[in-house]
């Protein structure tokens, strides 16, 4: 990284009717640096990069590229000045090959065979393996992104803008992407990296500019700042660190004994020999990479899928063969991972969504089968109040709430029913920092009142922060239960991978 500035953004403002998208934004991207643009949804990141790429004309302010005034009228101008962009949503034709797709986007494309060999050269040089003859429709999201990157690299860009590049990638694909970005950086290409994932930014960015409400609220070195500070700058309020009081008793709240389950269709994971005991007041974390049996385990514990009578016992009552509503009456409640379409129905309002799971335990349905909508509405309002769900009223469709607010509603709906055992899958997935911290606090508070909690999560920091004990899940099997205190992220990583000392395989 040098100290020569490549792009200076000086006082850019842009407003739309009713909203100020950018207000006097100033920062400088240096040659050969990876510069992060951070901010929550609606902070003005997209408007700013569209301005740089020539899709939006600013109301005020100017930009300088290499010291010269830079005001692109359209993306073509931006590209000819050496600014390229990879969008979050790809613009590729599925029925065309990689090379044909790339040729389509070029101002003057060479012959396909020559282009193919050029693509191959670049793909080898930058570690972006791709076959130019393959149909785009058959590629994974990560491979499609590579096509977009190669398309940009063919123009020898000086500045590469990447909008939320990791949102569609697997962990391995993220690694490949990051090594490509580092190589580009060594060659002197600057990268403007837009994301709200703090961890990504800390691992590869040199500088971070943080936007909030359209304004630049700070520029920092993300590697030196701690995550909480950056998150607080993003949301503009202090995040409370969840506090925990341990209240584990000796009573066994939930016992799973030799759970074996064979799925009916191949998209599901088989569960093998799962046994554990959950104590009253305990928070048990179950960690693993997505698709190792977490969803199946959640559905079997919740009662959506039935198993053998004696494999699941709630305070020594066998409940393995009874359905979800009877389990709810006994106090076992669940919040599944998928908010829209599983935990809540997007097109129905919050009152109806309250009735969705609270009907039995809160007695929202009379004996005659008539729904007590007034009582349901009161309970919905209570959830909204207690969990600070930001919504104009309870008659709003669940799908129109932001992810964080809907998750607060989903968790609140179960927690306020006072579960004896609460199972939650990915409690803070895709949720903004402020909502995540309040959800975590709610889970800790619940446990301190004596409820037993299982948190199934892929967020290892969350598991370390919240749980008393930890188990890893891998290919439908579970490790031994160990105390979370003293565990490091590395140790957990090994356990999740299915290796280490805490595995007893029953092959």
């Amino acid at each position: 990284m040098s100290n020569i500035s490549l792009l200076e953004i000086d006082g850019i403002s842009k407003s739309y009717p009713g909203v100020i998208a950018n207000e006097n934004v100033k920062f400088t991207i240096k040659t050969g640096e990876i510069h992060a643009l951070l901010g929550e949804n609606g902070a003005g990141k997209s408007t700013l990069v569209k301005t740089i790429y020539g899709l939006v004309k600013p109301d005020k302010g100017l930009m300088k590229l290499n010291g010269n005034l830079y005001s692109p009228n359209e993306p073509r101008d931006a590209r000819s000045c050496g600014v390229a962009m990879v969008f979050q949503h790809f613009s590729l034709f599925n029925a065309l090959t990689v090379a044909e797709n790339i040729a389509l986007g070029m101002e003057s494309s060479p012959r396909i065979d020559r282009l193919s060999s050029k693509i191959e050269t670049i793909s080898i040089e930058y570690g972006l393996p791709i076959n130019p003859e393959k149909m785009v429709g058959s590629l994974s999201a990560g491979e499609q992104q590579r096509v977009e990157i190669i398309r940009c690299l063919l123009q020898n860009p000086k500045l590469l803008i990447m909008d939320e590049p990791t949102s569609v990638l697997t962990p391995n694909e993220i690694k490949t992407l990051f090594s490509t970005l580092k190589k580009l950086k060594r060659e002197g290409t600057s990268i403007l990296y837009i994301s709200h994932k703090l961890e990504d930014i800390r691992s590869i960015c040199d500088t971070a500019t943080i936007l909030r409400g359209g304004k630049n609220v700070g520029t920092c070195d993300p590697k030196k700042e701690n995550v909480r500070n950056i998150a607080e700058m993003m949301i503009g309020e202090t995040i409370k660190i969840p506090k925990k009081k341990s209240t584990i008793s000796k009573l066994i709240a939930l016992e799973v004994d030799c759970l074996n389950w064979v799925p009916r269709d191949s998209s599901q994971k088989q569960l093998k020999n799962i046994s554990f005991k959950l104590l009253k007041g305990e928070i048990l974390g179950i960690g693993g990479v997505a698709g190792n049996g977490q969803d199946e385990l959640t559905e079997i514990l919740s009662g959506e899928v039935l198993s053998n009578k004696n494999t699941i016992r709630l305070f020594d009552n066998p409940i393995g063969d009874i359905g979800i509503n009877k389990r709810r009456l006994l106090g076992l409640l669940t919040a599944p991972e998928e908010r829209l379409g599983h935990a809540a129905i997007p097109d129905m309002d919050l009152i109806e969504n309250t009735n969705l799971t609270a009907h039995t335990r809160e007695k929202l349905v009379k004996k005659s089968g008539i729904i007590d909508w007034r009582k349901t509405q009161e309970f919905a309002k209570n959830i909204i109040k207690e969990f600070d769900v930001r919504t104009p009223n309870a008659k709003v469709a669940a799908g129109s709430l932001s992810g964080g607010n809907l998750q607060k509603f989903v968790i609140g709906r179960e927690v306020l029913q006072k579960p004896v055992v609460f199972i939650v899958n990915q409690p803070t997935w895709g949720v903004d920092a402020a909502a995540a911290s309040s959800i975590r606090q709610a889970i800790l508070d619940l446990a301190s009142t004596g409820s037993a909690v299982i948190i199934i999560s892929q967020d290892l920091d969350e598991l370390l922060e919240l749980t008393d004990n930890f188990m890893a899940i891998n290919s439908g099997e579970m490790s031994q239960k160990i105390n979370t205190q003293g565990l490091t992220v590395d140790e957990i990583g090994l356990m999740i991978g299915g290796t280490g000392t805490y595995w007893k395989r029953h092959d």
Partner: protein, 361 residues
């Protein structure tokens, strides 16, 4: 340039406005079609929508016919709407209507010529049961083997039509009918007939039952947990299961109830306006009811209004054929337009049109 922007939630206002817009658009485009056929469009529209109700010459005949036609349409559409809400597509109401009529009429004919107050109620039960059982065939196949209820229920319409022909010619043929196909006319068998209750209105037991069931269905859908379960099943299977709803039971209830109501409609028709089981007993109410269900927005009171409107276009259409010599196909196209515009209008409930001027920046 017009751009469509997805609404955060479907607009309730537009949900109720679009049916009226659809009627207006149908009148307009239908008028153009009639004009292209060489007719005065305004006169044609007037004959279809106005004359059956208010023309002194035709109204005395046409007005009662509206209730006679609307009764079965509403009855069948109410049942179908339950399934449609739950994503269970019973397309075979026509078959259930036929079987209901055969079973109901069968009971009545079995008692001929004895008198008794219990005969008609027994026929009603038999009609509902016949339609119910016929609809349980696709229901059980779907629950047990995950077959497609659309195909199975539709195919069973053709089976039912064949059974209808068979009984009209054989089992139920009127022994005093001089060898003509068709059963005894139940209108002349007092204990088994479903007469016009108030003379000159077309009101018969089926119409009363349709109105009562409209209210009942409305209460069930808005207040009862079963209605709520039907609604959530249509929105998301996973969420419904999470709520504790058993999808097999919902499938059975939706198909069973729609079958029973179609069967009832068939029974009231065969014992009333039609009078007898005959080869051409069914006239497509089971299929038209699909349009009625959607035109009424799957809302019970909407269905009541849509049934009346649809009946009006039937009667008015016949009148237009008779008065202006319009081809029957033109009337069918006219009715088809109604559904087309209604479905097209749906875009306004889910999307908001935005008028933008493309600015060159």
């Amino acid at each position: 340039m017009i751009r469509l922007e997805k609404r955060l939630q479907p607009s309730k206002k537009w949900t109720s406005i679009t049916p009226f817009l659809a009627v207006l658009a149908t009148m307009f485009v239908g008028g153009i079609m009639f004009w292209a056929l060489g007719q005065d469009p305004i006169e044609a529209i007037r004959i279809i929508f106005w004359d059956p109700l208010f023309n002194p010459q035709f109204a005395s005949y046409a007005r009662p016919q509206i209730l006679v036609k609307a009764g079965p349409l509403v009855l069948i559409a109410l049942g179908l709407s339950l399934g449609f809400r739950a994503n269970i597509w019973n397309i075979g109401a026509e078959g259930q209507y036929i079987i209901g009529a055969i079973c109901g009429a069968g009971v009545g004919l079995a008692f001929y010529p004895s008198e008794g107050w219990f005969i008609f109620p027994l026929m009603v039960i038999a009609g509902a049961l016949g339609g119910f059982l016929w609809a349980m065939i696709p229901a059980i196949l779907k629950i047990k083997f995950n077959t497609n209820e659309i195909l199975v229920s539709l195919m069973l319409v053709y089976v039912a039509e064949k059974i209808l022909i068979s009984v009209s010619l054989g089992l139920m043929r009127n022994p005093e009918g001089g060898g003509f196909p068709g059963s005894r006319n139940l209108q002349y068998y007092k204990a088994a007939s479903n007469p016009e209750l108030i003379s000159g209105t077309g009101m018969h037991w089926g119409v009363l039952v349709a109105i009562a069931l409209t209210c009942l269905t409305y209460i069930m859908l808005t207040k009862h947990t079963l209605g709520f379960q039907i609604k959530i099943s249509g929105q998301s299977n996973k969420a419904a299961r999470f709520s504790g709803t058993n999808p097999s039971i919902i499938t059975a209830i939706c198909l069973g109830v729609s079958g029973a109501l179609a069967g009832l409609a068939g029974l009231f028709e065969v014992s009333g306006p039609s009078g007898q089981i005959s080869i051409d007993f069914n006239v497509g109410y089971g299929f038209t009811a699909i349009i009625v269900a959607f035109l009424g927005r799957l809302n019970p009171f909407g269905i009541l209004l849509a049934g009346l409107l649809m009946a009006l276009t039937y009667i008015g259409g016949e009148l237009a054929q008779f008065m202006l010599g319009l081809p029957a196909a033109a009337i069918q196209a006219f009715q088809g337009m109604l559904l087309f515009f209604l479905l097209a209008g749906d875009i306004l409930t889910n999307y908001q049109p935005k008028f933008t001027y493309k600015k060159r920046l």
